[in-house]
């Protein structure tokens, strides 16, 4: 076959090229060398993120909030696509389910955020368990099609079940969580006070997302995560080292669904409303593009992709209404030139720079 990516290592028969298996993540799987890795970049970024409302305007806080939520959504998808090699076209289903769960609980039943938010994860996780059970029995394109079908079913239900989900109009005006307790806290820690509600919500999102991403990081670096990569690399061989592939895939599917649901729960409140299109297939493709843009082969790639995409969108939309055209073109360039995404390109550059001093 022509044009095999010549960075594809070793014997091409090692299960490579199979749909989504050992193929979804490009060769830059090993992260940056340990010296750079030990430096706590993520903590630095998190700390800096807390200063956005102080330093930036309301608009920037809004953008940052958007980025933070989508970063979680994209990272959850990466568990499936980048680490297990399962390409899902219906991940937005769990995002939507989470959003509706939290929205319904908070708006219609007045449940406090601290219960409604985890509930998003639980409900989405349960649905992922049911849907995933059927999906992991299929492979390749059939898997992708079934994830799409389930997502469209979720969309159709949200779109038409007027009594519960508000139908086409969705559920506008989801209340913010109550921040009254901050006033009391501000008496003791003065720097905590004086922010707008949307800022407090931003901080909430930051904390929640940071926790979720920390958990995902642990999962990915755990034996379970390693088993997932063996499935991605060579599912057949994984079977022969005792890995019950279907069970692991289902577990990955559910975990990814839980975190997508949590992201959705946050997003519904942020967006000031929950709408059926949260589950539509084009939303699934947005998050997939984000994951690709940032780099599926790394943990932080998707988060970087979220930042890049949302920032780009913002910049472009102020000049022209033809954002899809630009996005499509960027995607084409990515696919042909930088399949490893931004993170992949950075890592490749780093490697090349490292080699120079040795007298190449």
């Amino acid at each position: 076959m022509s044009d095999k990516n010549d960075q594809e290592p070793g014997n091409a028969e090692c299960g490579a090229g199979a749909w989504g298996r050992s193929g979804a993540a490009p060769p830059q799987y090993k992260l940056v060398p340990s010296r750079a890795r030990r430096f706590p970049w993520p903590l630095l970024v998190l700390a800096a993120a807390f200063f956005v409302p102080t330093v930036g305007s309301r608009f920037y806080t809004f953008l940052a909030n958007d980025v933070v939520i989508w970063a979680l959504f994209a990272t959850s998808l990466n568990l499936l696509v980048g680490y297990t090699g399962l390409v899902s076209f219906g991940h937005a289903a769990y995002f939507g389910i989470g959003a509706y769960a939290t929205g319904l609980l908070m708006k219609k039943l007045g449940v406090p955020f601290l219960i409604a938010f985890p509930a998003a994860g639980v409900v989405a996780g349960l649905c992922a368990l049911v849907f995933g059970f059927f999906c992991v029995r299929l492979t390749r394109i059939y898997f992708a099609m079934l994830t799409l079908a389930f997502a469209q079913i979720v969309w159709a239900i949200c779109f038409k079940w007027n009594e519960v989900t508000g139908g086409e109009q969705g559920m506008p005006e989801i209340p913010y969580p109550s921040f009254d307790w901050v006033e009391r806290l501000a008496a003791v820690l003065p720097f905590v006070g004086g922010y707008r509600t949307s800022d407090y919500y931003y901080f909430t999102c930051l904390v929640m997302v940071a926790l979720c991403i920390w958990v995902l990081r642990r999962i990915v670096g755990s034996p379970f995560g390693r088993m997932l990569t063996t499935i991605r690399e060579n599912a057949e061989r994984a079977e022969f080292i005792g890995v019950n592939v279907r069970r692991y895939e289902l577990a990955a599917f559910v975990i990814a669904g839980i975190f997508a649901g949590l992201a959705g729960g946050l997003f519904g409140i942020f967006n000031r409303g929950v709408f059926p299109d949260f589950a539509y297939w084009t939303k699934s493709s947005e998050v997939l593009i984000m994951t690709l843009l940032g780099g599926m082969g790394t943990f932080w790639g998707p988060a970087v992709g979220a930042l890049a995409l949302i920032w780009l969108n913002q910049q472009i939309v102020s000049y022209t209404q033809y954002w899809p055209l630009i996005l499509g073109s960027i995607l084409v360039i990515l696919l042909f030139v930088f399949p490893g995404g931004l993170a992949g390109a950075v890592i490749a550059l780093w490697r090349r720079l490292q080699r120079r001093p040795a007298g190449a």
Binding site: P27, K30, M227, F240, G242
Partner: protein, 245 residues
């Protein structure tokens, strides 16, 4: 230890394997030989649960394991290597072996421990045993063919099998590599008390180390016994010499 009775499998009417039966005694080194297309790999796939047989039984350690899933078979003590190198290409050599340990020792569903800490010693000692310790940090997909085969062996050994099925372990190797490889396999089998069942094309290899040989032709067994008997068998000679192999 391993008993195969009347195993058969057809694909769309083509009988790849038809009524094959043989026994592999514990501690022995047995070989399955036959010309290309004789059904050797299919037979392996049937034994190891990769394919479901249409008929017949596979009994391992006195347990009927016909058609059970590969991952379960692994836990019972059957290890396997593949003809086309089947490793985890983008993981390093070290990670390949470590993954096998993690899976075999049942820590696969541990979601929180950082994986680097697990099974360091075991992995390193196994890498030493198969001679890949210096290459531990290399991405396995970039290894030479011979090294990948060594890695394959290592992965299979990490599962602490009682019987090891090796599908054409010296395929694609030069004469020296073949000799070294076979010596390594023999030594490891002796050290660990493994039973070996392998398929091969290279007659020299087979006749030098096998205790028992089963000859397949077009999916059926045409000879089965010690090397001396098989060498003399007229049917075998016809199949091999007659086909100009």
């Amino acid at each position: 230890m391993l008993e195969v009775s009347k195993i058969s499998k057809s694909f769309d009417g083509f009988a790849a394997v038809g009524g094959v039966s043989f026994t592999v005694p514990q501690g022995s080194i047995s070989a399955i030989i036959g010309p290309n297309g004789a059904g050797k790999t299919t037979l392996f796939n049937l034994i190891t649960g990769h394919l479901r047989p249409d008929g017949g039984r596979v009994v391992f350690k006195e347990r009927d394991v016909t058609g059970i899933a590969p991952h379960d078979l692994c836990r019972l003590g059957m290890g396997r290597s593949f003809q086309r190198t089947n490793i985890f290409p983008r993981l390093t050599v070290y990670e390949n072996i470590q993954a096998a340990f993690v899976s075999h020792r049942g820590r696969g569903f541990n979601l929180f421990t950082p994986v680097e800490r697990l099974y360091r010693d075991e992995t390193e000692s196994l890498l030493g045993a198969v001679g890949l310790l210096e290459k531990a940090g290399e991405t396995s997909g970039f290894l030479s063919h011979g090294n990948q085969k060594q890695l394959e062996l290592g992965i299979a050994l990490a599962l602490e099998p009682e019987i090891l099925l090796l599908d054409e372990p010296t395929a694609g190797m030069s004469a020296t590599e073949t000799r070294d490889s076979i010596r390594l396999i023999e030594r490891i089998a002796a050290d660990r008390g493994l039973t070996l069942l392998f398929t091969e094309h290279d007659m020299e290899v087979v006749f030098s180390i096998a205790h028992r040989i089963t000859v397949l032709h077009q999916g059926r067994v045409i000879a089965d016994g010690v090397p001396a008997e098989v060498r003399r068998d007229p049917e075998v000679r016809r199949v091999y010499l007659g086909e100009g192999h």
